[in-house]
Symmetry: C2
Subunit: 362 residues, 2 copies
């Protein structure tokens, strides 16, 4: 049925579809539904406490005995920059005033990278799959995750990043094309030059040629045509995020969902003003007026605590002007249906697209 | 043999491959070779005089009786901005000094848009196909090109641009993904936000769904896998630029060719410092040190006469530090072979990729 079964074998899947981890917008219900339908459900753990991660894994396991994936960020924590933080908070000052929101006293927190505590949690929970973003954790932690029996995935945005990941012993590469919603996984290139922004159509075959591992394509995939295209490029499977935001299981509010439903491809822009790292989402007011790219935005994740009070105050008034509306460039192809149905539909459509492509030859 | 024969019928082709017009880097020999092999050869006319365009068409016709394409730019000429020009020339001052190059007295010229004179030339030459970039010429000129019997193509970078082009009566849409080398065709979006930078994998199906016309995918296409992927996305054909730069027929010097041969995907960046409009090429020194995006670069095409003396002086010393090295993100997939051979090879590889994709099903 599928041209490359390596990923199915590696991760024990029935269909080569991974639901992308989407910290803050996925849910145990979403992951369980996708895994139940034969794909790989994922939980983005970057915004969760260890207790919440454990609870999410428990909820998934109550609903399915299929494999699932826990995803972690592996960024380096930035050096403190109190002057930069003060300047950024001053720049956002008019927004705090307008929204009557309390600016933070300084910038700290945001998101913690994968560390000793999270590694111990992974060893206890033993998910079938662990995926990393922004590179890999230090060797000692990575070895412990491997020893726990987890299959390891990591995002690459260039062929060179993929080769490095293969050398570190990951099991499969997530080739993240520039179309993808959410944070760019770039870790070895200067994202400000656009070097980590290679389109899926170009990136996937180059990664396939550069490594021996199975490659999971991500970025812009939302229907059977785009899945079939990625398989034609040599991918063994695909990872799909934005399309799952339209399922009832996704952890997004009705208002947020309505904004996503009106999103055009051209509205999906890469910004660093929401968190400090480049991430793709529908343009909101902060991105339009201060970004989408601001040279003076604090380093990741420190732009996040600056924006958070604005989001909270605006959402309390029913506005999504300051909400990160992470979404890829195929956002307008989204369809509202339950996640298990969507998973099966995508697999069927991909089979149909392959059949249609080859019909002219027979 | 091909899943969609509309483009073959429309343009009288044997294979659904268009050689991208590449002003300054294509050649009559290249266009003739591609057309002879059953594809559509193209000449980018933006840097040619009417006499040179006429001579190019004559040369092609001496070599083949197959269809070919003349391509023109349709930008609006910018308002004069002597202060901005002075400031930009001052910013580039150290480079003129270092290279002992003469800065221009002011900024004028660069590239002329499609106009009355070029329209008369098209009416006289009557190429089978005329393609436009940066939108369309004014209605009266467009009507004359149609009346001359030319099929009309135009680039779109968003589904909305494609719909507008269909309403104006073009015959096929070139859906230009963000991977593509050379100038972004964006004409209805603010390119500075990244709105006209939709990846090929995401753009093509959205354009296919938005219009009834045949869609020609471009951006990142360099081998059979990428062609098959675009056909899976619903494209009726593909346009390929960078891959043809590695043919002996391409109008690039040996030194330029050697730089291209060493290009990585991550080195292919979008810049406005070479001409004033966003265009994708391998990072050169001017892009690295002044760009890749400079807020104060003159409007297209006025950054071009500022950079031209630097290029000339540097190339005289054997350096490509100031040369526009236009190339898409699949530059590293380029293979050196004659253009007719490459055209046939690409068509065969695409057929093989489709066969391989569908083999698992039978």
């Amino acid at each position: 049925m599928w041209p490359d079964i390596r990923l199915l074998d590696l991760l024990d899947l029935e269909v080569p579809l991974v639901q992308a981890p989407m910290a803050g917008a996925d849910s145990p219900a979403l992951a369980a539904a996708v895994s139940s339908a034969g794909g790989l459900g994922s939980i983005g753990c970057a915004l969760l406490s260890p207790e919440e991660i454990e609870a999410a894994a428990r909820t998934i396991r109550e609903r399915t005995n299929r494999p699932f994936n826990l995803n972690f960020f592996c960024h380096a924590e930035p050096d403190p920059d109190p002057d930069g933080a003060r300047a950024w908070l001053a720049r956002l000052g008019p927004y705090y005033a307008e929204l009557e929101a309390e600016p933070p006293a300084g910038l700290a927190g945001g998101r913690a990278p994968f560390d000793e505590e999270l590694c111990s949690l992974v060893e206890a929970v033993k998910p079938s799959v662990v995926s990393f973003h922004f590179g890999l954790p230090q060797d000692a932690l990575l070895d412990r995750v491997k020893a726990a029996g987890c299959r390891i995935l990591c995002s690459a945005t260039t062929p060179e990043e993929a080769v490095w990941l293969e050398q570190q012993g990951v099991d499969a590469i997530v080739a993240q094309g520039a179309e993808a919603g959410g944070h760019r996984g770039v870790f070895a290139e200067d994202w400000r030059t656009g070097s980590g922004m290679i389109g899926t159509l170009s990136l996937v075959p180059q990664v396939v040629d550069a490594v021996d591992l199975p490659v999971i394509a991500t970025g812009g995939i939302a229907d059977g045509r785009t899945i079939a295209a990625c398989l034609a490029l040599g991918a063994a499977g695909v990872q799909i995020g934005t399309a799952y935001l339209f399922t009832p299981e996704a952890g997004v509010s009705d208002g947020h969902r309505a904004v996503l439903a009106g999103g055009r491809a051209a509205d999906s822009q890469v910004t660093n003003v929401m968190t400090g790292r480049p991430a793709r989402g529908l343009a909101n007011r902060l991105m339009r007026e201060v970004g989408p790219i601001a040279e003076d935005a604090p380093e990741f994740p420190l732009a996040s605590p600056a924006a958070a009070p604005l989001r909270k105050a605006a959402e309390a008034k029913g506005s999504f002007d300051f909400t990160p509306l992470w979404a890829g460039q195929s956002v307008a192809m989204g369809r509202s249906m339950p996640a298990a149905d969507l998973t099966r539909r995508l697999a069927e459509e991909a089979q149909d697209a392959i059949a249609q492509l080859s019909a002219a030859r027979s």
